[in-house]
């Protein structure tokens, strides 16, 4: 039996393990103040997990508020920050909901299950908005590619993402794979999901209507993901109780697939008042969030929760992060219909509670009250920290150490060797070893997928309406200047969506940082959020939701600050999407935008010299906006047959990828691009793209570019079986392909 409220009232002196549960002394005192007594062990468990950094955003809240305060005016946002995921209007009565989240720490401990359940969790977030999930993407970061631990973590993470996502039937349409020593021991596994929903079908997480029922459906509850809370169980129970619970959850994608279909059928039949997924903090989170967003209170009969392990203590049931579970609020008159649909899909469904007008969340355990709290105090009134931050003492020295003194290749032979070295660099090499383990075809609506600049999904078969998505983030840039680094992440994702022929609409972000208790890291975080909020305002794309992941560090060594930014765009007619590959010979190759001698934080400095210093490329959001507008117009008018952004690895990498995509070569000159051939080929200046244009449309494109104020440089023509940079180098397509595609198989088998 568990400790009752009555018992807690009469034993105020009992020592409780609040410190072991991660609470601070003042937080524990505040819980006592809220309740007017000491918490029961179940209440303590709920507060401790809901007031954790992961659930309460206590260190980041103050900074994240800028995303609301500085949000650009837009009519596109139907549901903003605070719900399970933001919802964006894409026209024709369709809406899209999308969000990126981290599953970093579990993926280091147990790569396969950590990554798999990361996919599962974000998919349920999307489902809880009433949407059908239609695609996933995975931005990943690992330690050095040749490090032994990377060989453990990466294959496991990729297999986990594939094993779960493939079985779920969601196409994986993009993402990133980036290596840097700063991620050794702290890999980043971010997962993004996008779903579509008709405007009238959007669902929200709230429990209203006295007498309505709380139905838990999906998998039974087990002991997985309980982690730290086992300390309570071992304190409360005798030795016979299993004490050590696994901290990493285990996923069952088949259950999630039937849960998706079951939910969609339930939504279509209009059988729920509110819905919430069970993710971090399990039932504690779902019940307190549903109740506090509703208009009354809630009673939960915890002993009715179906269990996989009958020895679980009530505290553990409240904490369990068992996967593939959802909570619905259902009117009593609709309960039978709801349960019928669950039975059709063989999904376990159990009434575990009821909405009431008490204003309290109470949890009963075999007739005893073990939790009696104001739900808002658990879900929303957690502590808010004003963490101290200060510009790191080393920041100036880092910025002063610019790459100008690094030896640069000058001769044709040197440049040719550098180009081949770069296209084979782990960060620039073909990622097909990874992405071929993901199903990109399922659902039959994938118009573009990796290695394209953006994933593009058809939403409507009849009207050809679609959406485009890209995620980007450059931790090296953010380390050099976190304000600019966050803006550059947005800038690149925005560009990737725009060059694919889409109009950028909204943003989701996953902010991966070290410990917020370190003022250096907190400064990086403050700068990055400020930079991102400012840039979102200027580009007119609001942040609709996302996630913060702190404590990505080993000892005192934090990861490079890594804001990963996802941009969603709308494509009015997916038949006009623009692929990256040259498709035919004798088309004209043009560079849009301007290059400068910008190599600070570049892939060249990193890969060739192991150097990180100086300043990142200059942010130019106005130029980015102009390029985006030009590309949208060019796609509408069918002016370009291929387009690819210039970013990591510079113009050289862009040209190589355009050539390799479909095996059509090109001959170009870079004499008019920048100061010298090296800068022209490897600088990473922003707001640039290479396009291929049929010869008879070049004048039209140039006129359009001029009207948007985008500089145009003629590079050359497509065709042949080589990439020629006139007067500099010539490489056969086959040789490029061998270099570009050989790296991953050599590293990972």
């Amino acid at each position: 039996m568990s400790e009752t409220v009555k018992h807690a009232e009469t034993t105020p002196e009992v020592q409780q393990p609040w410190r072991e549960l991660g609470l601070k002394e003042d937080e524990y005192a505040r819980i006592r103040e809220i309740l007017g007594r000491r918490p029961t062990s179940a209440e303590l468990a709920m507060y401790s997990v809901m007031w954790s950094e992961h659930c309460s955003y206590k260190s980041s809240k103050l900074h994240l508020a800028q995303f609301g305060q500085k949000a650009p005016k837009t009519d596109a946002l139907l549901v903003g920050i605070g719900e399970n995921a933001g919802v964006v209007d894409i026209g024709q009565g369709w809406a899209v909901t999308f969000k990126v989240e981290s599953h970093n720490h579990p993926s280091y401990v147990e790569p396969y299950q950590g990554a798999a359940t990361g996919v599962g969790g974000i998919v349920r977030d999307i489902m809880s908005m009433g949407a059908r999930p239609v695609a996933v993407m995975d931005p990943l970061r690992f330690g050095p590619a040749d490090a032994e631990d990377t060989r453990r973590v990466l294959p496991g993470v990729v297999a986990g993402i594939g094993g779960y996502g493939n079985c779920l039937g969601l196409p994986n349409i993009g993402g990133e794979v980036v290596f840097d020593p700063s991620y050794a021991g702290n890999p980043l596994v971010n997962a993004l999901c996008v779903g579509v929903v008709r405007h009238e079908d959007i669902k929200l997480a709230f429990a209203s209507g006295r007498g309505n029922l709380i139905v838990l459906f999906g998998a039974a509850t087990g002991g997985d993901g309980i982690g730290g809370v086992s300390v309570l169980a071992s304190e409360t129970f005798d030795d016979a109780h299993p004490t050590k619970r696994p901290a990493v959850q285990v996923g069952d994608p088949f259950m999630e697939k039937v849960l998706i279909e079951c939910c969609l059928e339930v939504f279509a039949a209009d059988l729920v008042v509110g819905i919430q997924d069970l993710g971090g903090a399990g039932l504690s989170c779902a019940t307190s969030e549903l109740a506090s967003a509703g208009d009354g209170g809630m009673t939960v009969w915890l002993d009715r929760v179906p269990l996989r392990d009958s020895s679980l203590a009530p505290e553990e049931i409240l904490m369990s992060e068992s996967q593939e579970r959802m909570c619905a609020v259902v009117e009593p008159a609709k309960l039978d219909a709801f349960l019928d649909i669950c039975a059709k899909w063989d999904v376990l469904a159990t009434v575990i509670g009821e909405v009431d007008d008490s204003g309290r969340l109470t949890v009963q355990w075999h007739g005893d009250t073990i939790v009696d709290v104001p739900p808002r105090s658990v879900a929303h009134d957690g502590p808010v920290y004003e963490r101290p931050f200060a510009r790191p003492s080393w920041q100036d020295a880092l910025q002063a150490d610019d790459p100008s003194s690094l030896p640069r290749p000058t001769s044709g032979d040197e440049l040719r060797a550098t180009l081949l070295q770069m296209v084979a660099a782990p960060n620039l090499a073909s990622k097909s070893w990874v992405t071929d383990q993901y199903d990109r075809y399922v659902l039959g609506n994938t118009v573009l997928a990796q290695p394209e600049d953006a994933g593009v999904i058809r939403v409507d078969d009849e009207t050809h309406l679609g959406v485009a998505l890209a995620t980007d983030g450059n931790g090296r840039f953010a380390k050099l200047d976190p304000y600019a680094g966050a803006q550059l992440a947005l800038s690149e994702a925005y560009r990737n969506v725009a060059v694919s022929g889409a109009r950028p609409l909204a943003v989701t972000d996953c902010l991966n940082f070290g410990s917020p208790e370190d003022p250096d890291v907190m400064w990086q975080f403050a700068e990055a959020t400020r930079g991102l909020a400012d840039a979102c305002l200027e580009l007119g794309v609001p942040v609709t939701g996302g996630n913060v992941s702190f404590y990505n560090q080993t000892g005192d060594a934090a990861i490079n600050p890594t804001p990963v930014v996802g941009v969603l765009g709308v494509v009015a007619d997916v038949r006009r999407r623009v692929p990256i590959g040259f498709g035919a010979a004798d088309e004209v190759v043009l560079l849009l935008g301007e290059a400068r001698d910008e190599l600070g934080g570049s892939e060249w400095a990193h890969h060739v010299h192991g150097h990180l210093g100086g300043l990142p490329p200059r942010v130019d959001l106005a130029a980015e906006k102009a390029l985006g507008a030009l590309m949208a117009a060019a796609a509408d008018d069918g002016l370009v047959t291929a387009a690819h952004d210039v970013s990591d690895g510079g113009l050289a990498q862009t040209l190589v990828e355009m050539v390799l995509r479909r095996g059509v070569g090109a001959s170009v000159t870079v004499d008019d691009v920048a100061g010298d051939a090296f800068v022209a080929l490897f600088a990473e200046s922003v707001a640039r793209a290479v396009v291929a244009v049929p010869a008879d449309r070049v004048a039209d494109l140039e006129a359009s570019a001029s009207s948007y104020g985008v500089p145009v440089t003629r590079l050359g023509n497509t065709g042949g079986e080589t990439l020629v940079v006139q007067g500099v180098l010539t490489v056969a397509v086959d040789e490029l392909r061998a270099a570009h595609e050989g790296t991953f198989p050599a590293l990972f088998g």
């Binding site: 079985c167 039937g169 071929d436 039959g444």
Partner: protein, 223 residues
């Protein structure tokens, strides 16, 4: 012509198969695993996916689904049946086709645009192709290695029942590069690659897969 597409719990490419049927000019009919009734359809597609999670041997549970009883009987009677990927695995488990599908030899899930050679056009599902025609359709699976004993393999080849063979390299260790086979009568065909994902220029690597569906339409209604 009405073509049934069976949905098992865990089927993933059922909607895609229905779309392919529609694009071929036939009427797709959704069939449910728990309903032991084919509702008078003229042909059936068993789609790709992970029926029942495929936690046991792939397709091993699906073969016991109620819908399989009338399906197996009708297939013996000549009903055109196409099993794609998981559907192929179900057909093997149901003994409508010989052999079995095992884990890829490289132990990874593999999603690629796969070149195939159509070797038999004597089936209901491939009559629209030319013998020896090279096509490209997506292949995506973790357990796509086709295996059978030597005698069975010799028999399949001797009887012209190897319908499609992998070209340009064997992607998964399938014996004799076999990608798909048929029964003796040619009405039941199973293959690991996904013709239903190659029916539109917009979403597939080609439209080569459409001919599977138009072939069946022609065989049934004679147009």
């Amino acid at each position: 012509m009405r073509v049934g597409v069976v949905t098992f719990p865990g089927s993933l490419d059922d909607a895609d198969a229905r779309r392919a049927v529609r694009l071929a000019g036939a009427e797709p009919v959704a069939l449910w695993h728990a309903d032991a009734d084919l509702h008078g359809v003229d042909a059936v597609v068993l789609p790709g996916g992970f029926s029942y999670g495929d936690y046991l041997r792939c397709g091993a549970i699906a073969r016991f689904a109620p819908v399989m009883e009338p399906l197996v009987e009708a297939a013996h009677g000549g009903l055109p049946v196409l099993g794609i990927c998981n559907g192929f695995q179900v057909l093997c488990e149901s003994h409508l086709l010989p052999g079995a599908l095992i884990r890829n030899d490289h132990r990874k899930f593999n999603c690629v645009d796969q070149a195939l050679v159509v070797e038999s056009t004597a089936t209901v599902w491939t009559s629209g192709y030319a013998t020896g025609q090279r096509i490209v359709v997506p292949l995506k699976n973790g357990e796509g290695g086709y295996v059978a004993d030597e005698k069975t393999l010799d028999g399949l080849e001797a009887e012209g029942r190897v319908v499609v063979r992998y070209a340009g390299g064997n992607p998964n260790g399938s014996y004799r590069d076999i990608a798909g086979i048929s029964n003796e009568r040619g009405n039941v065909v199973g293959l690991m690659p996904h013709p239903e994902h190659a029916v539109e220029d917009l979403t597939g690597p080609s439209t080569d897969g459409l001919t599977f569906f138009t072939s069946a339409l022609k065989a049934v209604v004679g147009v």
